[in-house]
């Protein structure tokens, strides 16, 4: 088989693209879900015009258009795979045109692999890939110009146009214009220098107009310098293709069979160093919470066994939703009360702020949930978030602020994939209906007013429970907050006030904490009996106390039997520095 009639080259690109699909679908799906959640793409002419405020408007528009499909299961991997395939085809075609080499399809795998690796970062937008594809298409069109003088002028104009349409992907065009590999359009050195200087100068020329900092102007629409590695990888592909032309002729088979595994190893290395699988796990818990799957959150949390405040936060949310929080509180990692509420302040990273509204919404603290959702959206990279707008709409439906809810729902009504959700809720407003979920949420909210600071979680949740002791989720959050901070006296006092009369089965953490409190207070047998603590639990407490005494308070002797009891937590848990 000769090089020319080798029709199997498409297998290489397809295989890499397929692998990337499997990777994103099976191991990295939640990053992609999350990317959709922190943007809001509207089908509106007014919204479309806002893209012209910054460079690379077409790339950003195309990128955001495609990102909306990340909302669908499989949508993100499918979109990225399609983009990678187009990149590979275009780069292959360009390399073949400019260098007439025999293995362009192999070298074209390098940029595709790089883009795959880069898309593992939340900060790498789809608009960078979209911009790359646009530039490659422009270059192919540009190749039709045969006259050198016109080609040079067209190159200059195209650099300006590319910055306007595709932003920093302009550098890819520059690479393709000036590289020596570009035989048909090889410009003399001074013209190449003119093009390089011009491309370096264009962002500087427009950064004032676009109200960007210089760094932003050179990166846009990318957020981080790392996204420029895609352009660098195209440069590498071109250089390798050019410099190995002889090797390609003489050692075609070696290259054909040796290069793909090598590139795959590089991709694997890139994924290892750039992908954040811990964050993927946290985002999986976050997204499953958003999708309304607490059982899945508990299943994933158990599988991951991650000891950080985010895992604890989502696990506690899921436990509370299923009424199991006080029963299973000690079965999962608890970083004191930091796993119940996440802080909302400018000192926190934007992800924490964005996550934080879930707990406030769950317990019924609508104003705090609104504050947190607004800040989450404000601090997210594009200051627009479909997920937060949905949450804000729901919050205002719950509080009965229909004009505010309608504002958010009207926005969502202009989306493709949240439109139905919004229409259903707009119909609720129009028809004055209150479905069960709304009735339940409204029963949770405070009916009187008080003031509190944004970080005063305990007084806030106590106020909610005071307003409505039947708000069992808030009550469990309140009591567990006290338990996790080892405030046993306050716990018993509030337990007596809000939970003791309910005659409900006593959850594990509460019974264990009550035993500690009653023991500390030297309570009588009658008093002990009045709490209806199961006798099995009392026997366990006696056994624990005896073992504690005998071991001289050695945790290693206790951990096997009692490591998941509140007694063990009470004796041995210490608060260390917060995890990132």
């Amino acid at each position: 088989m000769t090089v020319k009639n080798d029709k199997t080259h498409w297998v290489y690109g397809s295989a890499l693209v397929l692998l990337s699909f499997v990777f994103f679908q099976s191991f990295y799906a939640y990053h992609l879900f999350f990317k959709e959640q922190v943007q809001l793409f509207l089908y509106s002419a007014e919204y479309f015009l806002t893209y012209f405020d910054k460079p690379g408007w077409l790339a950003r528009f195309a990128g955001d258009f495609l990102t909306q499909f990340f909302y669908l299961r499989g949508g993100g991997p499918a979109v990225l795979s399609a983009l990678f395939l187009i990149e590979w085809l275009l780069i292959t075609k360009i390399l073949r045109q400019i260098n007439h080499s025999s293995t362009p399809y192999l070298w074209a795998l390098i940029p595709v692999g790089m883009d795959w690796v880069l898309h593992t970062r939340l900060s790498h937008p789809v608009s960078v890939s979209a911009g790359t594809i646009l530039v490659l298409l422009f270059f192919l069109a540009y190749r039709c110009i045969s006259n050198h003088k016109i080609a040079f002028i067209a190159g200059i104009l195209l650099l300006f146009a590319t910055y306007w349409l595709a932003g920093s992907a302009m550098y890819i065009l520059l690479i393709l214009l000036v590289l020596p590999a570009n035989k048909n359009h090889r410009f003399p050195l001074y013209k190449q220098l003119v093009l390089v200087l011009l491309a370096s100068f264009i962002p500087y020329l427009f950064y004032q107009k676009y109200l960007l900092t210089l760094q932003q102007a050179y990166l846009f629409p990318a957020n981080q310098p790392s996204s420029l590695l895609l352009a660098a990888s195209i440069l590498l592909a071109v250089l390798f293709d050019f410099s190995t032309k002889n090797i390609q002729q003489n050692h075609y088979r070696i290259l054909r069979f040796g290069l793909p595994p090598f590139i795959l190893i590089l991709v694997a290395f890139g994924l290892k160093s750039m992908a954040n699988f811990n964050l993927e796990k946290i985002l999986s818990l976050d997204s499953e919470t958003y999708f309304g799957h607490p059982d899945q959150v508990l299943r994933l949390s158990e599988k991951y066994q991650l000891n950080n405040r985010y895992t604890a936060y989502y696990t506690n949310l899921a436990l509370a939703q299923s009424g199991q929080l006080p029963e299973k509180l000690m079965e999962v990692y608890q970083p004191a009360s930091d796993g119940l509420f996440l802080p909302v302040s400018q000192h926190e990273n934007w992800l924490t702020i964005l996550f934080s509204n879930e707990a406030f919404y769950l317990v019924g603290d609508m104003n705090m949930a609104q504050h947190s959702a607004m800040l989450g959206m404000t601090f997210s990279p594009y200051h627009r978030s479909s997920r937060m707008v949905k949450r804000l709409a729901d919050i205002n439906l719950v509080t009965g602020d229909y004009p505010a809810a309608a504002k958010y729902l009207r926005m969502l009504n202009k989306t493709l994939l949240h439109k139905k959700w919004a229409t259903d809720r707009l119909n609720l407003i129009r028809n004055g209906e209150s479905p069960n979920w709304l009735i339940r949420k409204r029963q949770q909210i405070a009916q009187t007013d008080s003031l509190r600071k944004a970080y005063d979680h305990l007084p806030s949740v106590q106020f909610l429970v005071g307003q409505n002791p039947e708000n069992t989720i808030a009550r469990d959050y309140l009591l567990c907050h006290l338990l996790l901070n080892k405030e046993i006296g306050a716990f018993r006092q509030l337990y007596d006030r809000y939970a003791r009369q309910q005659n409900l089965p006593l959850p594990s953490a509460y019974s264990e904490a009550l035993l500690v409190s009653l023991f500390q207070a030297g309570a009588s047998q009658d008093e002990l009996a009045s709490y209806n603590i199961p006798s099995r639990k009392i026997r366990e407490f006696i056994n624990y106390s005896n073992l504690y005494e005998r071991s001289g308070g050695n945790p290693e002797k206790l951990v096997e039997l009692y490591g998941k009891s509140y007694w063990f937590y009470y004796h041995f848990a210490t608060k260390t520095a917060m995890e990132p």
Binding site: L42, S44, A45, E46, Y47, L49, Q208, L211, L212, T213, Q216, S345, Q346, D365, M366, N367, M368, Q370, H371, M374, L375, M377, T378, F379, H383, R384, I395, V398, T399, G400, D401, P403, A404, A406, K407, R410, M411, K414, I445, A446, Q447, T448, D449, S450, L451, R452, K453, A454, S460, F463, L464
Partner: protein, 491 residues
């Protein structure tokens, strides 16, 4: 035969002209957004574009003046061509425009009850500046100060915190509605009060060790030589009741006057002690008085509902730069059972415009907060019922002819403030306000930004965001010196 053809052609022509066919007449006003039904507008305003709130297939709008008319088509919104609009307004300085809205809805044409736009020859100052910020109400991320030309839809960014290290920017205010005299505060490491006097920008550090904070709410003296400011230790707290949101109160608040020429800060003991909170000071149009809000000390936040601000007045001697030693109360909060904020004296010296809420000093999130107008000559108060709405109306500013004022209102959705303009006629009667026109009124639906402190000016300010970027990153802000004014009564 020819006659038949002519009749046929006439019929076709007639049918084509009368494209609406049968029309159902509705006796209701059209559900347009923004609410531009029967509003008074200045002769120099941009077209009042609007959209239909209910879903329609076609929209035909006729704007009929006394001499000319405009017909505009759209799908569900109209954009009146600027040239035609200007010609229509120029055709007669004072006229009533009749707006007829015809829509095609589910295949049926409906004509709504026509409404009027009353055009007054009293023009409004042609430029408006405002701060665009997400109503996140405790911390910020992206902020812009923007200047809008009211006669067109042109906008210009005056400052952008993307260029100033993400620092917070307070709102931009003018002296005498003059674009050559304005200021705003930038917070942050390199921040200061940016003062524009005839295009020369200065960055001033308005805080000394004798003051409780940097300058916060302020106003220019008519001469431009002085600024009066409150200094506030601001505490934000959140309400627990759902539809209420944020409460901001001062744990301490004083009042100072800054001489921009000498950079000297003066105060009076009664304006800088801890027994009362002073805020929102402004000079009178003649420059001889300082109006300000004042409330007696109450334990906060427990007694927040008892925190009620009066309107007080003390004298000021612009010649010597001294503040009077005592104050009068013009509006007694206890008697009026309310709390006042955001004082603004009209440029003609006749009126004082202010916001009244049930309590406190931060009316933005108080639904009950309404504007009120005091006639400074007679002491009469007008509750401005034609102007106010059920949501917060506050942060107002006058046009230089004292016939128009702009204010931020949350009336559309309770969260996102928008500028509204109200006309005050020669008898002092206020008219129904209208929202700042946009080229595409969908902008208000799509934006997640709130308009803060809209301020009118006669001209364009002589700087832009790049000038502010440059001055922000300059190392040092000019310091000020604090002295306590000699107690001296000024007649």
């Amino acid at each position: 035969m020819r006659i038949h053809i002519l009749i046929y052609l006439f019929g076709v022509l007639f049918y084509a002209c009368n494209e609406t066919g049968y029309v159902t007449i509705s006796h209701a006003y059209p559900p347009i957004y923004p609410d531009y039904i029967d509003v008074t507008i200045p002769a120099n305003i941009a077209p009042l574009n609007f959209l239909m709130r209910d879903s329609v297939e076609k929209l035909l709008v006729t704007i009929e003046g006394e001499k000319e008319s405009i017909r505009v088509k759209g799908k569900n919104k109209v954009q009146v061509p600027l040239k035609k609009w200007k010609a229509l307004l120029a055709s007669r300085p004072e006229q009533t425009l009749t707006v007829t809205v015809l829509v095609k809805k589910k295949g049926e044409w409906i004509q709504y009850k026509p409404f009027n736009w009353h055009v007054t020859p009293d023009s409004i100052d042609p430029f408006l500046s405002y701060r665009l910020i997400e109503p996140g109400y405790e911390v910020w991320n992206s902020i812009q100060l923007v200047e809008r030309h009211l006669e067109t839809f042109d906008e210009r960014v005056l400052a952008d915190n993307n260029l100033t290290g993400g620092s917070c920017m307070n709102c931009h205010i003018y002296g005498n509605q003059d674009a050559a005299l304005s200021m705003f505060h930038i917070r942050g490491e390199h921040g200061g009060t940016i003062v524009n006097r005839n295009g020369k920008l200065e960055k001033i550090n308005t805080r000394t060790k004798d003051m409780i904070s940097n300058a916060v709410y302020g106003n220019f003296h008519p001469t431009g030589r002085y600024g009066v400011f409150s200094t506030n230790v601001v505490i934000p707290e959140l309400h627990t009741y759902g539809s209420k949101r944020l409460e901001v109160y001062d744990s301490a608040a004083d009042l100072v006057v800054l001489n921009f020429d000498t950079r000297e800060v003066i105060s009076q003991p009664f304006l800088s002690d801890s027994t009362s909170y002073e805020s929102f000071p402004v000079f009178s149009a003649c420059g001889k008085w300082i109006y300000y809000c004042s409330a007696g000390y109450v334990p906060l936040p427990d007694s927040i509902r008892s925190l009620k601000y009066h309107i007080c007045r003390t004298s000021f001697d612009p010649k010597n730069g001294t503040i009077g030693a005592s104050a009068d109360t013009l509006w007694n909060a206890r008697e009026m059972n309310g709390s006042v904020s955001h004082l603004k004296t009209s440029p003609n010296g006749k009126y004082l415009l202010y916001t009244v809420a049930d309590y406190g000093t931060f009316p933005i999130w108080h639904r009950e907060a309404d504007l009120q107008l005091m006639d400074l000559e007679t002491g009469e108060m007008d509750k401005l019922e034609a102007v106010n709405d059920t949501c917060s109306d506050s942060y107002h500013s006058w046009s230089s002819n004292s016939r128009w004022f702009v204010f931020a209102s949350k009336r559309d959705d309770g969260i996102y403030g928008k500028p509204y303009f109200a006309y005050l006629d020669s008898t002092g009667k206020a008219h129904k306000p209208f929202a700042l026109p946009q080229l595409d009124q969908e902008y208000y639906d799509n934006t997640l930004k709130s308009f803060n402190i809209p301020e009118l000016s006669k001209g364009q300010v002589p700087y832009d965001a790049r000038d502010i970027e440059q001055i922000y990153w300059k190392p040092e802000a000019l310091p000020v010196r604090y002295t306590e004014s000699e107690p001296k009564l000024v007649e």
